[in-house]
Structure formats: C-alpha cells, structure tokens
C-alpha cells in the first residue's frame, strides 16, 4: 500500500518546479538591467553635499531616465542652487539634466550624458491581481535592492491612478522601476503606506511623459510648467466634482450636511458623548477629505480638498457661554506652504441669509478667505466657514481647497452654501 504522503509528491513537484524556473528568470532580469538602474542625487551648490536621494531607471538608448518628481523637486524649485547627478551600478557618476516632469503623477524625465544604451522596456501588458512584480531601488543609500511583491490592481477611490503593490518600498527607492517577470516596466516606485502596502505610478504615465510635447524650455520655465499642470488637473477634477449632485446626510437633530461628494472623498464621524466634555457641550463631527496630496516641495503641498461639519448642543450653558466656547474654534488651511510661496490670507465675513426661514433660525455668519500662490498665477487656497447658531445649538461648516482657480473657488463655495443647512 502506498503511503498517502507519496501521493502528494507529484502535486508538490508541480508547484515547486515552475517557481524554481521563475527564480532563474528573475536573476537573469536583474543581471541584464542592473546597469540601467541609477541612484539619482540632488546636490547643493553651496555646500557641495547631497540634499536628496532617489532611484531612477533608463528608458531609452539616448540616456533618458525616469525618476519621481519628488526626488528632484528641490532642483525644480531652485535650479540655480542645486544640480543633478547620477551614480551607476559601478559607482561612476555623471551630470543629469531635467527634461520634463509630471507633478500630479509624480514622475520626472531626466537625461544622462555618457551612459550605455541598455534600457528597460515599458510594458503595455495588462496584469491581474496577484501577478508577481519586483521593485528595485537604492534604499537609504545602502545599495541596490530588489523587493519581491505582487501587483494588486489600481487603488480604488483614488482620482490619481496608482498601482497597489504588496511589497515594502523604502526611502531612497523612490523613482526606481517595478518590473514584471519579463523585466518590463509595470510602474515607478512612488510611495508606501507601510506594512507591505506600497504604490507605483502606472507605466502609461511614464509613456505619456516621454511623449509629452509641452516641455519646459528652460529652468526659468519650471514654475510656469508646474502651475499649468496643477491648474489643468484641478480644472478637470473640480469640473467633475461640481457636476455631481452632492448627497446630504443628517447631523444632530436639526442639521443637514454634505456627505461624500465623490468616490475619492471619504468621510469620518465622531461623537463626544462618552467623554467628560459632553457635559457642557455635545459635539458631533463629520470630516471628509480627498486623497489628492500633490507634493510640490519640502513642506509645500497642495491639491487637498477637505470639508467638515460640527454640530454643537448644550443643556447647561448660557447662550453667551455656549457661543464663546463654540466660537473658539479655529480653522487653518490644510496644505502646508512656506510664506515665500503664498500671500497672506484675505478674508471677508458676513451674515448671510440662506433659505427663506433664516429669521427663525438664529443667525448665519459666513467667512471666506483666499491666499494666492506667488509663483502659480491664478491659483488660490480657499478657507471657508459657515456658523449657524441658535441659543443652545450651532452648526459649523467648513471647507478648505488648495490650488484652485477663482472660478472653482466661487462655484464650490456657492454650491457648498446651498447644500448644508438647518433642517
């Protein structure tokens, strides 16, 4: 009688033999393309030291190299004070020039002089969830590393398409290639959410950048190029957003507020009911934001949309105590921007009549603030709040938009004011 264990041998072999074959293939891919992967270094003119590190890979025999925009963002903003350099697999270095960039999808196209013609092919294949891919790069300046992981499709609820990669990307691997088993580019390493959850820029964005005809003409043109890309993206994004019917939802006893207005916007709620501060004021919160965080430079990002509602109610405070407490709430813009890139806020505050029965519903105070981007003509950050109060109840609505045009800002404000209201 044959042991049941022996019956398993053919099955086990059928699993392991193909895996062994794959491993052979991986190594050959690596050997072939090792020379096409570079470390990208942004150097400071003044100190002669590096200010940023990343990875990049060659995509043409002429020496075109792809990396992330965020790797070279320091150079984009201060091209006179920095210069770009590559380090190849042998440790040799050379100068790089910036050809083009796509700030929204976070990719940049560089050109290296005096490199070989070996390069990656960009895949146009479609993949299924679970397909094996390998991310390569130079994490933390320790040398080339290959991370084994799987393709998990395009991230849902993200307006800017990103491939979900179940593998660990680390700092310094940004801009490195993610390839399939045949060595073709599936995407570009871009970000990680930790715990084996990482993101890749899809290969079609790389192809689009290589084929882009609207390239910056000189270093002086970088800011215009950047502003133009943000503006185009925001116009498309908000045109779609404003065309939707925004759903509403109840909050507290009296208020109706705006729920998730688009697929990439997610909302969370909170309630202080079981906390000690609820004795004085009961607070219900709803806060929503989108996932668009466009990195421009260190401590300078944009593209966020955030809105929130706070419903307050008291049984124990006098109206004066209630309103002075609720009125302590402070709103700040969501996006960080160094002073030199934005103006101060200009604000207006008015008592606004919304709806027919406003007289019976206490008061409504609305504030709208804007600040302009010094470098990106026609783009503004917006800060808005609407305070609707009665003696013992209040609703505060608030939104911030970053890097939008005047038209978008006003259309959004108008629509927002039309939806949120007392019941």
């Amino acid at each position: 009688m044959v042991s049941p264990l022996y019956k398993l041998i053919p099955i086990l072999l059928s699993i392991f033999i193909p895996l062994l074959g794959l491993a052979q293939e991986d190594r050959s891919s690596l050997d072939v393309f090792r020379q096409s992967i570079y470390q990208i270094v942004v150097n400071e003119n003044e100190t002669g030291n590096k200010s940023a590190l990343g990875s990049g890979f060659q995509v043409s025999p002429e020496g075109l190299i792809i990396t992330n925009y965020h790797v070279v963002s320091g150079y984009v903003f201060e091209p006179d004070q920095r210069w770009l350099e590559f380090v190849d697999s042998e440790g040799d270095t050379g100068r790089l020039s910036l050809v083009d960039f796509d700030v929204i999808n976070d990719v940049a196209l560089l050109k290296a002089e005096g490199v070989g013609d070996q390069h990656f092919q960009i895949s146009t294949n479609s993949y299924r969830k679970g397909d094996r891919i390998f991310a390569m790069g130079n994490p933390l300046d320790y040398g080339m590393l290959v991370v084994d992981g799987a393709y998990n499709g395009i991230a849902e609820n993200s307006y800017i398409p990103k491939i979900l990669f179940s593998g660990s990307l680390n700092s310094g691997m940004s801009g490195g290639p993610a390839v399939d088993v045949s060595g073709s580019i599936v995407g570009v390493n871009v970000a990680t959410a930790g715990s084996q959850l990482s993101f890749l820029v899809p290969a079609e964005k790389v192809i689009a950048l290589i084929n882009d005809q609207d390239r910056p003409e000189s270093t002086e043109d970088y800011m215009n190029h950047l502003g133009g890309q943000i503006q185009t993206f925001q116009q498309d994004y908000y045109a779609e957003l404003l065309s939707f019917d925004w759903p509403d939802q109840p909050l507290g006893e009296n208020a109706h507020v705006i729920a998730e207005i688009a697929g990439d916007v997610s909302c969370w709620g909170s309630d202080n009911q079981n906390r000690p501060d609820a004795e004085d004021i009961r607070v219900l919160e709803l806060f929503c934001n989108n996932g668009n965080h466009t990195y421009l430079q260190n401590r300078f990002n944009t593209g966020q949309l955030h809105y929130s509602f706070y419903y307050y109610e008291t049984n124990s405070l006098t109206p004066k105590q209630f309103h002075s407490t609720v009125g302590e709430q402070v709103f700040r813009p969501d996006n960080a921007a160094p002073d030199r890139y934005v103006t101060d806020f200009e604000c207006q505050q008015y008592y606004v009549d919304i709806g027919d029965s406003a007289e019976d519903q206490g008061f409504r105070q609305a504030g709208l603030c804007f600040r302009a981007y010094n470098e990106f003509t026609g783009l503004y950050d917006v800060l808005y709040y609407l305070f609707q109060g009665q003696d013992t109840k209040a609703l505060v609505g608030h939104f911030t938009l970053s890097a939008v045009t005047e038209d978008i800002a006003l259309s959004f404000a108008e629509k927002f004011m039309g939806v949120a209201e007392w019941n």
Binding site: D280, I281, L317, T318, P319, K320, Q321, H323, S324, T325, V326, G327, E328, Q329, V330, F331, R332, P333, T343, D344, F345, E346, C347, Q348, Q349, Y350, Y351, V352, D353, I354, A358, F363, R364, Q365, A366, G367, L368, C369, F370, R371, A372, Y373, N374, T377, Y380, L383, Y385, F387, G389, V396, E406, L410, A413, E414, M417, G418
Partner: protein, 345 residues
C-alpha cells in the same frame, strides 16, 4: 413756613437748658433766601454742606463741615471756622480764630450768607431747609452698602460674568468673585479718600453702595440685551469685559463725583469729566499702555469665528452677494502677488 430741626446727640442728655442753643437763622444761599429756627439740645450748631449738619447749605463752595456755633465757658455763642477750604468772612475779615458771634451780622461762606438772630421772632419769613437726599443718607449706612455689595456679587455670579468661558472651574469662579468684590471695595475706598480730601460728605460706605448698584445695573442690562438678541452692545461688553465696565463706571463716577465734590461750574465739570474719560479710553483702547499686541507674522494663518453677529445692526446679505463681494479679494491678492514679484526683481 417754619421748620424746626430737632437734633439729639450723645451729649444731649447731659447738657443743661442753659447750654442749649436756640437761634433763628437766615440763609441767603446763592440768591435764595431761607430762614428758620434751630433749637439745638447740644451746645454746638454745625453748619455745612453735609447731611449731618444742623444747618445744611448746598453751596458748592462750602465744605461738608464748614463752621460751627458753640457756647463758650462764659455762655456766649461763638463761631469757629473748621479750617474750611474757602474760609469764613465776618465783616470783611477772614475768620481764623474762634470769635464771638455777632447777631444780625452776615457771616459770609462761599456764595452764601448766614445771619443769626438772637430772637426767633426776628425771623419774618421762613423757607424750608432743602432736605438732604435721604437716599444718600441711607447709602452711607454700612449695612446697606454690604447688602448692595452682596447683591452685586450675586447678580454677577448668576449672569455668568464670572465664567464667560466654561473652562473656568468652580474654584476659579469664587476667586474671580472675590477679586471683583475687592475691586469694588478698593474703588469705593479710593473715592472715599478723594471725597475726604475735597471735604465732601459722601464717604466710603456711600461710594460702595453706589458703585455696587451701578455694577448691578450694568450686569443686568448686559444680560437683558443678551437675552433680547445678540447685538453689538452685548458683543462689546463681552469682548472688552471689565474694561468696558470700568470705563462706563469711570465716566459716570467722574461726573457724579465732580458734581458732588468740587466747586466747579457744570460746564467745567463736564469738560473735565469728558477729558479724563477720553484719556482713559485713549490709553486703554487707542494707545494702550505697554503698546498694542501685534499679531505674530510667523504664526500660521487662520480664521476663527470671532463674534456673535448682530441682527439689529448688521443686515444679512444673500449668498449671491456674498460670492460677488469676494471677487474684490482676488484683485487685492493680485496686487500682493505683483508686489512680491517686484520685490524679487
């Protein structure tokens, strides 16, 4: 009409009939003529502006206790100036020492004259003595002042003035109430001293009653306004809090105080009152002592809900108007950007 001022004192029971003074007094008070009989069971007749005098003359140039008539050892009635600010003249001479009273001769004090007659029948026409305001007399009583203070603290406590911010806990509220009470006492004491220096009859307890009553009135007014609607006055009081109360109290006080304590004519009183109040407002709001606190330019930009709005003062605007008005902000921002760019160049 004859009015008799019956006065009793501690010495009254011990004094003899001979030592009593019974005189007829004619007062020519700033053009008005009054005459009456004073029967004093003491050996002293006090004359002055204060309510506790036997002869009250409401002439601003007369001190609260200006002069007195008394019987000397020989039994003659003498006159003594109590080191008054504006003195007493008898037959054109300033009175410095005790002098023997001369009947039927005018004694000149301030703008007024007093003629003392030996015989009460000499007084032909009698006018009533102006009653010194009984309210002020009652206000001077410590018990009344204490009750007023306690009531004011209670009003302040109930109206939430000690805790406009809910983060102020119970113990702090008591602390704030005590501070508030001490401030009132200090304020009253200050005015008591000023009144004393000006020889004014209103002393510490009277001021304490008055300042407490005034504060209560302000607190209740504030509460009524708040109850009626959210409006600018309520906002001003809550924003400036005790500073506003202090300023309003100061305005009232200066006027009342100057009115009762000085020898100034009404117009000058009003001018000085307005001047001092203006000065206080200047150093409090316009050019604050220690300099105005400028916002920190490096602080992150923010907006907050700054004020409860006023339906009484500010009209609502429509959403369309709100959106339209905001377009002016963009032109201002554009100017800022251009300014920044020209600076860079």
């Amino acid at each position: 009409m004859e009015l008799e001022a019956e006065l009793t004192g501690e010495l009254g029971a011990e004094t003899t009939a001979e030592s009593n003074i019974e005189i007829a007094v004619e007062v020519f008070e700033q053009g008005q003529h009054r005459s009456f009989v004073v029967r004093c069971t003491q050996s002293i007749v006090r004359i002055g502006r204060g309510w506790n005098n036997d002869v009250i003359i409401r002439d601003p140039l007369i001190d609260a206790e200006h002069l007195e008539l008394f019987r000397d050892e020989s039994g003659s009635i003498c006159i003594r100036d109590k080191q008054s600010l504006n003195g007493t003249r008898l037959k054109g001479r300033w009175l410095s020492d005790d002098s023997k009273l001369q009947f039927n001769v005018p004694i000149r004090v301030g703008h007024s004259s007093i003629v003392v007659h030996k015989n009460s029948e000499a007084v032909a026409v009698a006018e009533p003595t102006p009653q010194f305001e009984p309210v002020i007399e009652r206000m001077q009583q410590p018990l009344v002042a204490s009750i007023a203070l306690a009531l004011t603290l209670l009003v302040a406590f109930l109206s939430g003035q000690f805790a406009p911010d809910i983060s102020i806990e119970g113990d702090d509220r008591i602390g704030r109430a005590m501070l508030f009470g001490l401030a009132l006492i200090f304020w009253s004491a200050l005015w008591g001293v000023i009144a004393r220096l000006l020889r004014h009859e209103m002393a510490f307890w009277g001021h304490l009653t008055l300042v407490s009553a005034l504060c209560s009135l302000l607190l209740i007014t504030d509460r009524v306004i708040e109850w009626a609607s959210f409006n600018t006055l309520s906002l001003t009081l809550s924003m400036y809090g005790y500073t506003a109360l202090f300023s309003i109290a100061l305005i009232c006080w200066l006027f009342i105080g100057l009115d009762m304590s000085t020898r100034l004519k009404p117009l000058r009183r009003a001018a000085i009152s307005a001047g001092i109040t203006g000065l206080v407002i200047l150093v409090t709001f316009v050019f604050p002592i220690g300099g105005r606190q400028e916002p920190d330019p490096s602080a992150p930009p923010m907006v907050n809900i700054t004020q409860p709005p006023s339906r009484l003062v500010v009209g609502d605007i429509s959403v369309d108007e709100f959106i339209d008005r905001s377009s002016t902000l963009f032109s201002r921002l554009q100017e800022k950007v251009e300014e920044e760019q020209s600076l860079e160049e």
